[in-house]
Amino acid sequence: MPSVAGDEELIDLVYTEARLIDEKRLEQWYELYAEDGRYWMPLTRDQKSPTTENSLMYEDKLLLQVRIQRLRSPNAHSQAQPSWCQHVLQAPSIEDRGSISGIAVLRTAFLYVESRRDDQQVYAGVAWHHLKREGAGLVILLKKVELVNCEAALPSLQLFP
C-alpha cells in the first residue's frame, strides 16, 4: 500500500484542524473527524488507556457535538463572555506514512493559548494526529493531545487544545 496521502496533504490537515478551532468554525472542524474518530487528552504521561484510566478529555463524535452545540447555546453562561484560543504549531513531522497500516501518524509540538477577557492560560504540548483516507479526503481517526502539564491542577479549560 502506498502512503495514505502525499506529505503536503497530511501536514495541511494538521494546520487546518488547528485553524478551524481557533476561528471557531467548529461544525467544519467536526467534519474532519471520522465517524469513529476520537479526541483524547490524557491525564498522565505515557497513559495507556483512555477508558480504564482518567483522562482530561476523551470525546467521541457525540460528545464533540454536545460541546459544539453547548458553545452556541445561550444557556452556556460560562461562555456568555466567550473564550478564544490560538494554536501556535511547530512544523508537523510525519512519523508514519501509513503504507502498512493505512493510518498515517503525525507529531506536532504546539503552544496553545486560551483566553477569556482578563484571564489567559498558556499550555504547551505535543499533538498526535492519526489520519486515514476516506473517499477523496483525509479524516482524523484520533487526535491525542499530550499537555506538558497534564498532571497539574488546572482551571477550566473550555475549548480544544
Binding site: N54, V66, R70, N75, S78, A153, P155, Q158
Partner: protein
C-alpha cells in the same frame, strides 16, 4: 490583617442568623485562616485511600489545611500518617507525591533519616551533637504522627487536634455511605485507579461542598451541558438503548419534583447525603454479570439490599464527598479564601467486571475534569458568587429554603425533602461550633 474574629466568638456566631449567612464566610481572609486552624483541625479529614500505599515502604504525600502530611506503610504492614517535616530544619522530607522509600525516609537537605513510624533513626556526624541536648529537644521526637487516625474500610482520616470527638462520634451513621461503596465490591475491596482529575476552583471551598447536596441548581446550571445532550437525544424512542454518555448526562436535567422526591439525609457535624429514595444514578443500565457476582458473594437478599441503595452525593464535612453508586470520590483541599483544589478519584471494585470501571471513568471525566462541560457550568456559578458577593449593601446570603424559625430549638439530624437547603444550614451549624470552640486547650 485586622483581627475581627480571632478573639471574638460572638462576632463569629453573628455570621449565621437563621436562614442567612454573612458573606464574610466566603471572602474574609481572617476567617479562612481561622477555619484552617479550627474547623479543619477539629474535623476528621480525609487523607487518602489505603490502596495508595499497598506495600511496605510506600508513601503518599498530601496537604491538609496548609500542613504537609505523609501516609506511610511500614514493614509490619502498619499504616501511619506523619507530618512531612524534618525535625532538623523543617524541610519536607518527601519530595514526590507518592513512591516507595525502601524502609527509610531521608531528608534531602542534611540527610537526617527516619523510620516509617516517624522516629528519628540517624543524624550525620552525630558526635557534633554530644552534650547539646538534642536528645531532649523537639527534634528527638522525629517527624511525629498525627494525634488521631482512623481507617474505615480503606478510607484514611485524621484529626489534627489532640482533643476532640472520636471518629465514630464525628461521622455517626454517615459512614454507611462508605460501607455501601465498599460493599459494592464483590471482594469487599476497593482500589484507587491511576491519577485523580485535579480541578482548580477559583472560589471558596464551602461553595463547592454546599453544591454537592444542592438539588435546585442542576436543571438551571446544567441546562447548557446536560440539556444539550438531552436535545441531541430527542427523537429517539424511550426504549432505545442510550449511549452511556446520554445515560449519564440526562438525569442532571430531571425536573424539580425528581430532585425533591430524592430526599436528603442530614447528620450532625455537617455531614449529609442526597438520594435517600433514589438518585440520578438509579436508571443506569443493568449489569447482569456484575449482579450475579454480587449474589455469589453476598447471597441474593443482601446483594439486592446493597445495590438498591443508590445515593447521590455524601458529604463527609469538610474534606470528602463520595458517590458510592458510581465509585467516584472528590477530595476538597482549600488553598486560599478564594482558591480550592478538588481532586476526583475513581475507585475500582476489586473483582467486578471491567465494564463498571469504564462507566466510573467516563462519569469522572464527564463531570469532574477541568475540561468537563458540567464542571464549567458549576465553576462559572461559584466564580459569579465569589465576585458577586462584593456588591452593594446586602451582606447576607440566603439559605432559608424550607427553613423554619422553630428549627433553632432542635437538632438538625433527620430526613428532609430533597430540594431543602437544610444541608447548607447543617454545615454552618458545624462550622460555627468548631469556629467558636475553646481552642486554647488544644
Amino acid at each position: 490583617m485586622v483581627n475581627r474574629f480571632r478573639d471574638n466568638p460572638d462576632a463569629i456566631r453573628e455570621l449565621l442568623r437563621g436562614g442567612e449567612v454573612h458573606r464574610d464566610v466566603y471572602t474574609d481572609e481572617e476567617l479562612f485562616e481561622l477555619e484552617m486552624q479550627r474547623v479543619w483541625r477539629a474535623a476528621w479529614v480525609y487523607v487518602g485511600h489505603d490502596s495508595q500505599v499497598p506495600a511496605a515502604g510506600d508513601y503518599y504525600a498530601t496537604d491538609i489545611g496548609g500542613q504537609p502530611l505523609l501516609m506511610t506503610r511500614s514493614q509490619d504492614g502498619e499504616l501511619r500518617v506523619l507530618y512531612n517535616r524534618c525535625a532538623h530544619r523543617g524541610a519536607k522530607v518527601v519530595s514526590a507525591v507518592s513512591g516507595n522509600c525502601g524502609g527509610i525516609l531521608r531528608c534531602p537537605y542534611h540527610g537526617w533519616t527516619y523510620r516509617l513510624d516517624g522516629t528519628l533513626r540517624t543524624v550525620p556526624l552525630r558526635s557534633g551533637y554530644a552534650g547539646t541536648g538534642l536528645d531532649e529537644s523537639s527534634a528527638a521526637l522525629g517527624l511525629g504522627s498525627v494525634p488521631a487516625l482512623a481507617n474505615h474500610r480503606g478510607f484514611v482520616f485524621v484529626r489534627l487536634s489532640r482533643e476532640g470527638r472520636t471518629f465514630r462520634e464525628y461521622f455517626g451513621d454517615s459512614l454507611s455511605s462508605i460501607d455501601n461503596l465498599a460493599d459494592r465490591s464483590p471482594s469487599g475491596r476497593l482500589e484507587i485507579v491511576g491519577a485523580p482529575l485535579r480541578y482548580l476552583h477559583a472560589c471558596n471551598w464551602k461553595m463547592f461542598i454546599e453544591n454537592l447536596n444542592d438539588t435546585m441548581h442542576p436543571m438551571v446550571a446544567h441546562e447548557s451541558s446536560a440539556g444539550t445532550a438531552r436535545d441531541l437525544w430527542k427523537g429517539h424512542p424511550p426504549e432505545a438503548r442510550k449511549p452511556m454518555v446520554i445515560e449519564q448526562f440526562l438525569p442532571f436535567v430531571s425536573n424539580y419534583d425528581f430532585f425533591d422526591q430524592m430526599g436528603v439525609k442530614i447528620y450532625d457535624h455537617g455531614h449529609s447525603y442526597t438520594g435517600v429514595n433514589f438518585s440520578i444514578h438509579s436508571a443506569y443500565s443493568a449489569m447482569p454479570e456484575y449482579e450475579a457476582l454480587m449474589e455469589q458473594a453476598y447471597g441474593p437478599e443482601r446483594a439486592r439490599a446493597i445495590l438498591s441503595e443508590i445515593r447521590h452525593n455524601t458529604v463527609f464535612y469538610p474534606s470528602l464527598t463520595i458517590k458510592g453508586a458510581i465509585q467516584t470520590i472528590r477530595v476538597v483541599r482549600p488553598l486560599a479564601v478564594d482558591r480550592t483544589l478538588v481532586e476526583s478519584y475513581t475507585l475500582r471494585l476489586v473483582g467486578a467486571p471491567e465494564a463498571l470501571l469504564e462507566r466510573s471513568i467516563m462519569y469522572n471525566r464527564l463531570i469532574n475534569s477541568p475540561a468537563s462541560v458540567v464542571g464549567h457550568d458549576d465553576m462559572h456559578c461559584y466564580r459569579q458568587i465569589q465576585e458577586g458577593l462584593a456588591a452593594g449593601p446586602n451582606e447576607w446570603v440566603s439559605i432559608c429554603r424550607n427553613y423554619s424559625p422553630a428549627d433553632e430549638d432542635r437538632g438538625i439530624a433527620g430526613t428532609y425533602n430533597g430540594t431543602s437547603e437544610v444541608s447548607v444550614r447543617g454545615q454552618f451549624r458545624a462550622w460555627i461550633a468548631a469556629m467558636t470552640a475553646d481552642w486554647e486547650e488544644r
